[in-house]
């Protein structure tokens, strides 16, 4: 999986992800998020349009990163999930805790 970090605002970052978010890549994803939060950006938008596969390992990493962001006073939002990612989010009922936005800009601009 590739992750490109865009520093969208002083406290906000957009993580543009592509590839697979599974047991192979979940650890690197968590580490990247931890670094971004340590660097002062705890409002995170995870852009998933380029992620063509996510499984329970990926979901677990998203939940872990949501906690990391909230502990630092921020939050984590999902943007532009692909069809496969939408299926997994729906099956797992994770939409109760992870808000999904149509694209990265919408997720960033609605942060009050």
């Amino acid at each position: 999986m590739d992750i490109v970090v865009h520093e969208a605002a002083e406290d906000t970052a957009v993580l543009e992800c592509s590839g697979r978010l599974n047991m192979v890549s979940a650890g690197a994803f968590r580490e990247t998020v931890a670094k971004v939060v340590d660097g002062g950006r705890a409002r995170l938008v995870v852009e998933l349009s380029g992620v063509d596969f996510m499984d329970s390992s990926g979901l677990g990493a998203l939940v872990g990163c949501l906690k990391t962001a909230r502990q630092a006073g921020g939050d984590l939002r999902i943007a532009a999930p692909s069809e496969q990612v939408q299926m997994v989010l729906k099956l797992s009922n994770i939409d109760k805790i992870l808000r999904t936005y149509p694209d990265g800009d919408a997720a960033v601009s609605t942060w009050g």
Partner: protein, 139 residues
Amino acid sequence: MSPMPGGHSLDLACPPDDVTAVHRFLETVWDAEPTLSAEDRMALELALVELASNVIEHGADGHGVVCSLQLDVGPDSVRARLTDDGVPVEVDPAAATLPDALAESGRGLALVQMVVDDLRYERVADQNRWTVRRGRHPA
């Protein structure tokens, strides 16, 4: 690749192999089975990668694990069998449920249950055997 029509197989030794090999194997199966719908492909890839991840994570017992995946694409359903030489697993796949929303693990088998019609686990001789069946959904 099995000479049987609709039959496909993959052998894995983990490490060094990981679930990337399962994804790549399934890409070759989808290329060979163009009539399988996108919905079926998504469901089967999720189910088989979840099962293989479980085997690699829990079945290895720190010593690595050798496993074999067989996929049989029939006219009405797809059957898959994943066998491994790992330690026995204490699990009732029928009882798999989603954990609390804030849990960071424990969703794998529950997700598999949701996307297949039948999921079974057996210990046969010194091997674990997972079998799944999914009725084909037309495109």
